[in-house]
Symmetry: C2
Subunit: 310 residues, 2 copies
């Protein structure tokens, strides 16, 4: 593949880059900032630019045959603060990307959607890809609209698209500002001896996936001819209290979280049915939760750049 | 009600205004142009402005308690030509309207969605409101996203919203440029002795609703406390060939259409299940297809302004 990884210096993107390089693919990265979690890689063609900049994006697309679209200006917990901005920066700019791909003849895209928000409150657990899409926040609404435009551009312009409905990825190089993942946030707070806060009683169940397993799926999927949505998660649910137990074991710290009133926006349980990914690719996660938390903890202790510690 | 009818000089909007006035509601119209199909009405407070103009829109909202949102810059058949514009002009501007309503404390909105596009190709006919939303064109994708933002703003800001998933409305004051409705287009072509063209063999079935019946539903629904989506159609399907038969009878013209190759975008049958509207409001269409076509024909012959005949 001659790949263009949009968001290749971000959390998921940097692991997709690693997975592509390990499989000897050609890698170009389009990112609004240089590498922040590590030194630039010699084998990567970096292009710094804004996703809204059509000229820079068109230049980055030149010669590519496969696009990984891994950027979002928002998080599930923040998108509601500015829905107009969410639509403008993510939906419109993605349609723009598709228009540029059509013009340049780039025919393959893997899009990072969101298994935790596109379904809304699921009717059954684990949730399958054919479950109705009933998002309840701006982040999910925009992801669903993008998925639908991808299908439309497949029909209109022959752009083959595969949608990754990821569960909750975690691992090295994840930001821990409190919005991008509880495992990284909890680990950072444990590391810095700060209090860990939990909304509700800790019984909320989510599906957590080690980021390298997600990245491997993306690369494998991109190289295939499969299209449409794929749930990509562990297929297992863990409560926040179980996550804390794992973190206690890995860190050796006695952690006493502060429990706060539950938020009505949190659905009680979200677990993805990953049988479609398994059937199509023989894919399954390789890294267990305990192992993944251990790796994340080691990264936090040893490899996290000091300059972005906060 | 102190109503603000956004798009009140348009096809559906002008009939909503008539229905509101007949029920002695206060009516303010927000429109990008003055009345074009008739003289301005004495009992209406007209505000000319663009839907994208927040200042004009906020001023029009002042003092209103109920909003009818009936505008779209696109049609189902044209939105794919500029999806970015479709999102910007319709989705973002509607979110902006909701933000302005939240700021002004306006707590009720009736939104004109699209029963013909939000479901995509239906799994069963007639289609119910709980059918999965799988739009296949930009028009439908934007309508679905707006519906989802309406539900979100209901939860976040207490704006009570009712969504009208209308079938194919027809009747007086419909434009007939070929994109807004086959009945009006066919009547105009018959009137002007132009050839009538049909994509496919004329077997495509749609659900046609006389516009005054649709307008009456909107006003009744607005005055209620019901929320969420309502299919609003005739509940009956008619093929294009059946429509032509009705038009032959009404006009007395022998019409020989030219059949062109079918378009893959046309689903074969679309009929709405209107039992929810019937159960909630006792609503049902009053005007039969033959009667509605007769009224449309009379308007075209007698009342259509000459200046907009083309």
């Amino acid at each position: 593949m001659k790949s263009l990884v949009i968001g290749g210096c971000g959390f998921i993107g940097s692991h997709v880059v690693d997975s592509l390089l390990a499989r000897h693919h050609s890698v170009r990265v389009f990112s609004r900032h240089p590498e922040i979690f590590r030194q630039p890689l010699a084998d990567v063609d970096y292009r710094v630019g804004d996703f809204a900049d059509s000229v820079a994006l068109a230049s980055a697309l030149d010669g590519a045959d496969t696009v990984f679209h891994l950027v979002s200006t928002t998080f599930p917990g923040t998108a509601n603060l500015d829905p107009k901005g969410d639509v403008r920066d993510n939906l419109i700019n993605t349609i723009n990307l598709l228009d540029l791909m059509a013009a340049a003849g780039v025919k393959r895209i893997v899009f990072m959607s969101s298994g935790g928000t596109v379904y809304g409150a699921p009717d059954q657990i684990p949730v399958r890809e054919d479950h109705p899409l009933r998002p309840i926040n701006s982040y999910g609404i925009v992801k669903v609209a993008i998925e639908q435009y991808l299908a439309m551009y497949r029909g209109l312009h022959g752009i083959s698209s595969l949608v990754v409905r990821a569960s909750n990825p975690y691992g090295p190089r994840q930001a821990h500002s409190g919005v991008q993942g509880v495992i990284s946030t909890f680990l950072q707070r444990a590391h810095d001896e700060e209090e860990i806060e939990i909304w509700g009683d800790g019984s909320v169940v989510r599906d957590y996936l080690y980021v390298a397993d997600l990245a491997d799926f993306c690369v494998m999927a991109a190289a295939s001819e499969h299209v449409g949505p794929f749930n990509v998660g562990s297929g297992e649910g863990h409560s926040l209290n179980e996550i804390l137990d794992v973190i206690r074991k890995v860190t050796g710290f006695a952690i006493s979280p502060r429990y706060k009133p539950a938020r009505p926006v949190d659905v009680p349980r979200s677990i993805l049915d990953i049988s479609r990914a398994r059937a199509a690719f023989g894919w399954r996660p390789k890294i267990s939760l305990a192992d993944g938390v251990e790796r994340s903890w080691k990264w936090l202790q040893n490899d996290r750049p000091r300059s972005i510690a906060q």
